[in-house]
């Protein structure tokens, strides 16, 4: 019987290498996926985790942890503003172009299925 890792690896194998790299670097939960879409659609957002959670329709605790993780992975920047922690999408054009490619790829049902496989495996 085929092991689960082998099946997922097979499903992911034919994914575009750049997209594969983006998915494996940044997308390991549905909340992160939501946040990536949010920052793609609203690229100049500058706000606290609590407010971003409200915009994304998720709980502040869940979103805060994922925002910090995306910051550690280099997609977002976290800035102290007064006594608040404010998150923004990195201005780096290369990162924004990669995010755009990912967002556009998610229009395709097959690609979304692969990303879900990846998240389930993770």
């Amino acid at each position: 019987m085929m092991r689960r890792e082998d099946l997922t690896a097979r499903v992911m194998r034919d994914m575009d290498p750049e997209l594969f790299d983006f998915v494996t670097t940044y997308v390991d939960s549905f909340i992160k996926w939501d946040l990536l879409r949010f920052f793609y659609e609203n690229p100049h957002t500058m706000d606290t985790g609590e407010n971003i959670a409200r915009y994304a329709g998720r709980t502040a605790e869940d979103v805060q942890a994922e925002l910090q993780d995306l910051t550690r992975r280099g997609l977002l920047i976290e800035m102290p503003v007064e006594n608040m922690r404010v998150y923004m999408l990195k201005a780096d054009p290369e990162i924004r172009a990669r995010l755009q490619r990912f967002a556009e790829a998610t229009q395709d049902r097959e690609f979304r299925r692969k990303v879900i496989y990846h998240m389930v495996r993770h």
């Binding site: 659609e41 609203n42 690229p43 100049h44 957002t45 500058m46 706000d47 606290t48 407010n51 915009y55 800035m79 503003v81 007064e82 608040m84 404010v86 923004m88």
Partner: protein, 257 residues
């Protein structure tokens, strides 16, 4: 002040009411009920700026940028293309974060204004500031500092504010008196009922340092955006939402029955 170069809104009829446009580095309040056209007026102002190579920023609280892209597209204004050309940025944030950021030396907004060479800004809407303080004095101080921080950046601002009443006078909330005082120009948009049809009215109630047209005018929102039309003639009480013909009120006032 009459010879200062004006900041044109590009809205047919409105610039004439404003004696050529807003004065530079001023905060200009547009107040009206939901759907009267406050955001459209603001977007048209920003679009006109981009067209004249005067980049602009839309600062939105709780309204998603996606909504602006879509609404602008309906008027044939490609905001996404303007963003790519660095003539426009739509920032989604909250009053508390932007306030703190503006107080910082080299804050994010300040850097963005400098990088783009922004000259115009739409703040949509300042109603959200009311959540920051219950005390009207503190709120007024906060707004005063906030607007000055933006004017210091050489921006000419449009601030929108929601009125909760669809018709007539409907100002309420902590910001009422403060913001009308702090704003350099005060433009009011109103729904008006005339002979069983709802029409839109615009009036410039105040314009600090400048002459302006103070007649109450009709306006429409068509496929190109806002267009200011003729004055409401032969009517009085237009801002109450249900005007009367002059002769009728004259009769009531002066003719004994």
């Amino acid at each position: 002040m009459q010879n200062v170069k004006r900041v044109a809104t590009g809205i047919p009829g409105l610039d004439a009411m404003l004696n050529g446009g807003f004065l530079p580095r001023t905060a200009n309040l547009v107040e009206g009920a939901p759907g009267t056209g406050k955001s459209t007026l603001g977007m048209q102002y920003i679009y006109e700026g981009a067209r004249r190579d005067e980049p602009g920023i839309i600062l939105t609280f709780e309204e998603f940028p996606e909504q602006y892209y879509r609404d602008a597209e309906a008027f044939g204004w490609d905001f996404r293309a303007l963003e790519r050309q660095n003539k426009l940025k739509i920032i989604m944030s909250s009053p508390e974060v932007t306030k703190a950021d503006l107080e910082n030396v080299e804050g994010t907004i300040q850097n963005l204004i400098a990088e783009m060479g922004a000259q115009r800004m739409l703040i949509d809407s300042i109603t959200h500031f009311e959540g920051l303080h219950q005390d009207p004095v503190k709120l007024r101080k906060l707004m005063y500092g906030y607007l000055n921080a933006l004017k210091r950046q050489d921006l000419t601002l449009i601030l929108t504010r929601e009125s909760t009443h669809l018709f007539g006078e409907g100002l309420e909330g902590q910001l009422d008196a403060s913001i009308q005082f702090l704003a350099d120009t005060y433009i009011m948009l109103r729904y008006v009922e005339i002979e069983s049809t709802v029409q839109r009215a615009i009036v410039v109630l105040k314009m600090r340092g400048s002459a302006h047209d103070s007649t109450i005018r009709q306006f429409e929102i068509n496929a190109q955006g806002l267009k200011v039309l003729q004055a409401f003639e032969g009517q009085e009480g237009v801002l109450s939402g249900s005007p009367k013909r002059m002769s009728e009120s004259f009769m009531k006032a002066f003719v004994r029955r």
